[in-house]
């Protein structure tokens, strides 16, 4: 199986706090892999390292066999890693259409002169056509003129995923995609993630708290606690691992 992402001994410290301590993780092509762990375990920090927002203190991150440490976040996105955020980060005052259109831009090469004097008209038309297609396929076209910040929560989540898809990623990182969703919506999201994985040929790495979703969807699970990997394996293996139970439920103190 082709390897897409590999973290080797990745650590990051903020001052004296080891947010991540020697994390090893790999994701193979076409997989859906989940990272779980209690609050503050370092899951989002791991995402921020992968996408270049933080630079790890030590260790390595390889994407398709190439180290992506010390690269600009925008360059990492151009290489094919797209993400969503735990607290939705849309371009709130822009329309749904513009949100996706902006993300389309990275695949096209124009500069300020060609774009100002509309010498890139062909590209621009193409971008708009692609945006329309993508919104259509994600069932968001009817919202195209709405201001992104005014949409219902669930739609905003889907728009954020659509925006990530617009960068035509190979690897999609989803940071708590089901946060704030009810069981019905979570079920829909589960099938939606599978659907886009097949449709767009994606590899998915996700952080999630909803165990239903995680157990249902992921081929492999990594469990992090206090920055350390405490378990990995299939849903069943992880569920029965005493360390995981301890991390989530606490250990009983026998007097």
């Amino acid at each position: 199986m082709e390897n897409v992402l590999r973290l080797t001994d990745m650590s990051i410290a903020f001052g004296g706090l080891m947010a991540l301590d020697g994390l090893n993780l790999e994701v193979n092509k076409g997989e859906i892999v989940a990272i779980i762990g209690p609050n503050g375990a370092g899951k989002t920090t791991a995402f921020n390292c992968i996408t270049g927002i933080y630079t790890p203190t030590s260790g390595n991150i390889e994407y398709l066999g190439e180290s992506i440490i010390n690269k600009e976040p925008s360059d990492i996105t151009k290489k094919g890693i797209a993400r969503t955020f735990q607290n939705i980060r849309l371009f709130k005052e822009l329309s749904v259409f513009e949100n996706v259109l902006i993300a389309m831009h990275l695949r096209y090469n124009d500069n300020i002169f060609t774009s100002t004097f509309r010498l890139n008209k062909k590209m621009e038309d193409e971008m708009r056509e692609e945006t329309k297609k993508l919104l259509d396929s994600q069932d968001l076209y009817k919202y195209r003129n709405d201001v992104a910040g005014s949409l219902p929560y669930g739609i905003q989540r889907r728009l954020e995923i659509a925006r990530a898809l617009a960068t035509s990623p190979t690897l999609l990182l989803l940071d708590e995609p089901a946060a704030g969703m009810n069981p019905q919506e979570t079920m829909e999201l589960t099938s939606y993630i599978k659907k886009i994985r097949d449709e767009f040929g994606l590899t998915v790495l996700l952080i999630e708290h909803h165990m239903d979703l995680v157990m249902d969807i992921s081929e492999r699970i990594y469990v992090i606690d206090f920055g350390k990997l405490i378990a990995k394996g299939t849903a069943e293996e992880v569920q029965n691992n005493p360390k995981v139970i301890e991390a989530y439920l606490g250990v009983q103190d026998d007097a």
């Binding site: 996105t77 980060r89 371009f91 902006i102 990275l106």
Partner: protein, 364 residues
């Protein structure tokens, strides 16, 4: 069908803007023909046009990219001095530099006005590019302070004795060729404004807006934060420089005091009043503020009612009234007169149509 609708919309707006331009040109031609009678009005219009250019350029960086920059006066000074030095007629140069003489290299350096304006923009742009590298890593208020400081440094350097042979130090420059007619001023301003509007509405402009909305999300969709900010800052400063050149032509004589911090505040006022992030807001705001300050001159004249002189009416009172008006605008239109939106004829017409429909038996 949607596509057709979209095209119709753009066409109506374009036609209306063309109509406005034609009407403005007609009015300006009329005013130019009666120059002596309308001298005052013409100068207000010219000043408004120049301020509209600078306000819109400030809006690119502040309103559309979300970088709070207060360096406007400095970049205007760079543009103004470049334009002035390169356009003052050679014959009058000994008169201008009567105290310290002129640098031999500049003695015969003269270029046509449009070229001088563009060079003024280029000089401002180059300086912006250089200082942008360190300071664009700063955020919000820190950036404002850094740009403010830069602007004051430029002013100090221009006035310093070291620069006597180039900028004429604290004596300033005069005999700058002015606008031959208000149409000339209108043409330069219009070209700048149209190009800036094209930039804002292009794919590059969309990147600017993405950075304004959310820097982290912008990076996550492949926008290089630093390059985009730098680009916006340079483009904005380029047009600010041209605006400075236009101001020099409008005033015909400049010195370093022209470009004090108050000039930046004047521009900031226009941008905030018109609406941060609104193109039409900046343009309307420029006319509103410039004309407003002049029309209120009435309050500066002594007022005598029934033989009693009202004590408040003396020079300076108009600025009090003006400030009160500003406070009212800020209180009631917190986001400026246009609040990030654009004046659009489609919307105006839509409102009218709706009203017609609402009227009983209005539109059956």
């Amino acid at each position: 069908m949607n596509k057709l609708n979209f095209k119709e919309k753009t066409n109506i707006n374009l036609l209306m803007y063309l109509a406005i331009i034609v009407v403005s040109v007609t009015i300006l031609i009329f005013l130019d023909m009666n120059k002596f009678q309308y001298n005052y009005v013409i100068s207000i219009i010219e000043k408004s046009l120049v301020y509209a250019v600078v306000a819109l350029s400030m809006n690119i960086v502040t309103g559309f990219t979300g970088l709070f920059s207060l360096g406007q006066a400095g970049f205007m000074a760079l543009g103004a001095y470049t334009t002035a030095i390169l356009t003052i007629p050679i014959a009058s140069r000994p008169n201008v530099y009567y105290m310290n003489g002129i640098l031999p290299a500049l003695e015969n350096a003269i270029v046509p006005i449009p070229v001088a304006l563009i060079l003024g923009g280029v000089v401002a742009g180059v300086f912006a590019a250089l200082i942008g590298i360190p300071i664009l890593r700063l955020k919000s208020d820190y950036l404002a302070i850094a740009t403010l400081g830069f602007s004051e440094i430029i002013r100090a350097v221009i006035a310093s004795p070291m620069m006597d042979k180039i900028t004429n130090g604290s004596y300033g420059l005069k005999s700058i060729p002015g606008f031959k007619s208000s149409l000339e001023c209108f043409a330069y301003s219009l070209i700048c404004i149209v190009i800036m509007i094209l930039i804002i509405n292009s794919s590059t402009g969309r990147d600017f807006k993405a950075v304004r909305e959310d820097e982290i999300a912008a990076r996550a969709v492949g926008i290089n934060l630093f390059k985009t900010k730098e680009l916006s800052f340079v483009v904005s400063s380029f047009f600010t420089g041209i605006g400075g050149g236009l101001l020099a032509m409008f005033m015909r004589s400049i010195d370093s005091k022209t470009f004090q911090i108050t000039l930046t505040y004047d521009i900031l006022l226009i941008v905030v009043l018109g609406g941060i992030g609104s193109i039409t807001g900046s343009i309307v705001g420029a006319f509103f503020v410039t004309a407003g300050k002049e029309l209120l001159r009435f309050f500066d004249e002594p007022l005598i009612i029934g033989g009693v002189q009202i004590p408040l009416f003396k020079p300076g009172f108009r600025m009090v009234i003006f400030s009160i008006l500003l406070m009212i605008v800020v209180l009631f239109f917190r986001k400026g007169l246009l609040g990030g939106k654009e004046l659009s004829f489609n919307k105006l017409m839509k409102v009218r149509r709706k009203k017609n429909l609402d009227e009983p038996g209005g539109n059956a």
